[in-house]
Symmetry: C2
Subunit: 199 residues, 2 copies
Amino acid sequence: MTERRPSSERRIEILEAALTIFVKKGYSEARMDDIVQEIGLSKGALYHHFQSKRDLFIALIEHWMDQFSPIERGGLMRAKPSREIIMHIAKFTAKLFKRNPNWFLVEPEIWAFANRDKEIKELASHLYANVLSEFEALIKRGIEYGEFRDVNAGMIAMSIMTSLHGMIWFALFKPNDFSLEEYVDLNMELILDGIAVQD
Amino acid sequence: MTERRPSSERRIEILEAALTIFVKKGYSEARMDDIVQEIGLSKGALYHHFQSKRDLFIALIEHWMDQFSPIERGGLMRAKPSREIIMHIAKFTAKLFKRNPNWFLVEPEIWAFANRDKEIKELASHLYANVLSEFEALIKRGIEYGEFRDVNAGMIAMSIMTSLHGMIWFALFKPNDFSLEEYVDLNMELILDGIAVQD
DNA sequence: TATTACATACCGACCAGTCGGTATGTAATA
DNA sequence: TATTACATACCGACTGGTCGGTATGTAATA
């Protein structure tokens, strides 16, 4: 029998294994047995911690959301100009990606799932709304301080986010002649220069 | 018994039904019976035209690729400046999207599949490489004619494409306060203004 | 000793794919 | 212009493996 561990720890261990398997095989092709095997646990144990496969996936999304609060990513730079903070978040995100691509590669899986499951869609919408409003706040702040032109902040926030999402495509179909860093830098510069006040 | 139709027609009919079902339920949850029911055909008939579910999906991607050649989308404007052509393609894509969102909503499904199936990944890579090289050519053309600065054309092409991919996210999680057209316009302008030669 | 964390054996709904067969065309031959 | 021969399009009952989930038991912990 596997060493016993407190539920809180075991749940996270399971979630991480689930992430690996869901990314490798996709939600539907992922077997509960695969996940369990990944950490040498039993199916009974898994169902002790999670009610169902879908429940596990939802828990995974929630766990995943925690990793991605822009507040955490840019929070230490409140004094700097918005441009720098946004740039910092972007670079940080790229680094995160390099370290653990799986966190990003689940996203298409989440999207696909959201497209056929209302509750998942709500969850994901909620997450993205948070991210968007963080960026939006940064843009508005930049406008107030005369750093950016008077643009549609919500729209720009979306541009930033979808640009970062581009990394996912990048990772999947990796055109090996380009670097991820270069891609992120270029995109952010296009956006940030584009909304900067001209001098 | 359903009226007989030549294979070429029937295959397309099936592919269109498959698109609907795959988008609604996702590849794995989609049942061959669902697809068949959609057009009042029999399972036997389906398997007469396609060898397997996977085979059907591959055929779907190939069929889908045909709809999206940028050549077709921008081909009639060879004399205009690159900026206009690219803008035209973007607007045209947005219109296409409005008319038939399903064509775009399969993309996450394709991505998810590509992530676990080498052959599908090859196929998709090939498609995207085509799209990218078209955009790249347009950028290079713009550089030659002094319209754009001497930027990394391949990279910009990627920016354009991932920006357009943003529409998918847009469609899935539709932040109802923004219009798709506005999103596309803004993003394209940021990119195209960003690489334009300053006067 | 009650509860929590785990293991094992098992169930049964589900569904891709099969297969024996029918119906409708089409083109060569008599 | 019949007749024969073959091809293509289609039907739907059936099956066998798969896999999410459950029932039941056992060891550790509090």
